[in-house]
Amino acid sequence: MMQADISLEAALNALLLADAHALDGKDMSGWLGNYAEEEAASYYCRSAENSEHGFALGFMYDDCRSRLEDRVTFVNDIWAGTFQDYRTRHFVQLTSFDRIDATTLGMRSNFSVFMTPKDTGITQVLAAGQYLDSVRQGKNGELKLLSRRAELDTSVLPRYLVYPI
């Protein structure tokens, strides 16, 4: 591997971890901050089963930057105090990346997410799957998510979702 690849890989890993860190910390503005400030910035969460059959429908379908901003409002303002809260731990592992053009990279990684509802304290797997990302590389080399698709092997969720995966 070339030196440039190694530092790029480290930067991609840092982006992956920053997202996991924001989600596990329920820091929705931190989560939003990992996305590029472009109208095309998007987040989708859907089952691999839907994808395999050609269905775009998901558990979450935020196809523009303002939908991402609204997702922050859902969690922080609209749903506050109405649900049983739960902790999550995201484990992510970069599996491949490639350059698409001068400012865009493709990245794949595996994830597994544990959840622990506050009331029961019992930990179980919430979902496993892979992230299919495209990543925007800024002028100074900084990386942001342009589009993320959390594709869930878990086609039947063990409960509802409040936070993005």
Partner: protein, 391 residues
């Protein structure tokens, strides 16, 4: 049938919480309700648009194979080989014109006929393939919605639906010509009856989105159909007014026609819920897994005549609005869990909103009444054979 004891209060508006949590009651429900004289929606034809398309589904444990044969005819089979009963198809959905059981390689065509089996000369004398098609439950179809019943005694489907027919047909876009957009599937840690007991009272209270978006409920009615207490809601669509907290308004926009009755819910006994709200068309196929778990497959649809932009709008709205993670429904999912925990306490759940006389059942209700659920509860009590205390 086993005689199960549960003392039921004399008032129609009191439901003993034990009914939600006792294992012996659940086992009896499976026999009397899920394998009894009820019709259960298991799919919509538009989930299998082409010859050879199939979907598998388990109805309270019973494996079903729902397929469209090579001539385009929809058929429902038990998903079990007619030889020794091996589960025939394992895929959730797909397209096949033949189904081969891997155990001893019996081969069935899309009409369920046994078309091949190795070494039949060594079988019982007189063995005839024609005697071994895939077994079928009774099924019938209403505007594309496929219903199954396990019992031979269930009345005809149209009688079963009774006065819910109109509302259900309208909800299925009036002509049933739907196009599948995909699924959201989830398990809730709750008894199946808590899942279906969701009421008209809670909407403006639990769901903060209504308040924050200044989204008033439109005028509407709620009524029950047949002695089973199927529930229908029909209401005018209201559109959010005032300053919105949402940056992307398309999520709560209505692009369809007919806002006069733009919102419909049909909830059929025992577990089926369907809804048309804004531009979302959603059929929820639900089945109990055990006394404390219900699995719900939210299937979403477009109409076959939609243009590309409308399909995209429906995809966005369907994914984000009314499902297990939806803007105005995620809280319902959480209540399903919490009400199940609360039901492990003594006494009864007591309905108030819309109850005029606890000793009388009604069939017309206001949109935000919770009493619309009571006729269904009375039917449940009678089918389970629980004795009501003397008035």
């Amino acid at each position: 049938m086993t005689d199960i004891k549960l003392s039921w209060p004399k008032n129609y508006n009191e439901i003993p919480k034990e009914a939600f949590v006792r294992e012996d009651i659940y086992a009896e429900e499976v026999k009397r309700i899920f394998h009894g004289t009820e019709w259960h929606p298991v799919a919509h034809e538009s989930e299998l648009p082409n010859p050879g398309d199939f979907k598998t589904y388990r109805l309270a444990g019973v494996p079903l194979l729902i397929g469209r044969d090579v001539d385009g005819v929809v058929r429902v089979f038990y998903n079990a080989c007619s030889h020794r009963g091996n589960q025939l198809e394992t895929a959730v959905m797909g397209n096949k014109t033949e189904f081969e059981c891997p155990y001893h390689r019996w081969l069935f065509d899309s009409k369920g006929d046994l078309v091949g089996c190795p070494n039949p000369r060594e079988f019982l004398p007189g063995f005839n393939k024609a005697d071994y098609p895939l077994a079928q439950p009774r099924f019938d179809i209403f505007f594309g919605l496929i219903f199954v019943t396990i019992s031979a005694e269930t009345e005809a489907l149209l009688d079963y639906l009774g006065d819910s027919q109109n509302c259900l047909r309208e909800l299925l876009a009036g002509d049933g010509r739907l196009k599948l957009l995909g699924y959201q599937k989830v398990r809730y840690d709750t008894n199946w009856k808590s899942y279906t007991d969701n009421d008209g009272y809670h909407a403006p209270l639990l769901h903060q989105a209504f308040k924050m978006l200044n989204w008033q409920g439109g005028k509407g009615r709620q009524y029950t159909a047949t002695h089973r207490g199927h529930i229908c809601f029909e209401s005018a669509l209201s559109v959010a007014t005032g300053p919105s907290v949402l940056k992307d308004k398309s999520l709560i926009e209505f692009k369809g026609q007919d806002p006069a009755v733009g919102s419909r819910i049909v909830s059929l006994f025992p577990t089926f819920v369907s809804t048309k709200h804004l531009d979302v068309i959603n059929l929820r196929f639900a089945t109990p897994i055990d006394a404390e778990t219900v699995e719900v497959h939210y299937a979403y649809f477009a109409h076959q005549d939609d243009d590309e932009e409308m399909v995209r709008h429906r995809l966005r709205q369907s994914s984000n609005l009314l499902g297990p993670c939806g803007l105005i429904s995620m809280e319902d999912a959480s209540v399903f869990h919490r009400i199940h925990i609360g039901n492990h306490t003594p006494g009864s759940a007591i309905f108030q909103k819309g109850v005029h006389d606890p000793l009388k059942l009604e069939s017309e209700f206001l949109q935000n009444d919770e009493s619309g659920n009571l006729p269904r509860w009375e039917y449940y009590r009678s089918v389970m054979g629980f004795k009501r205390a003397a008035a």
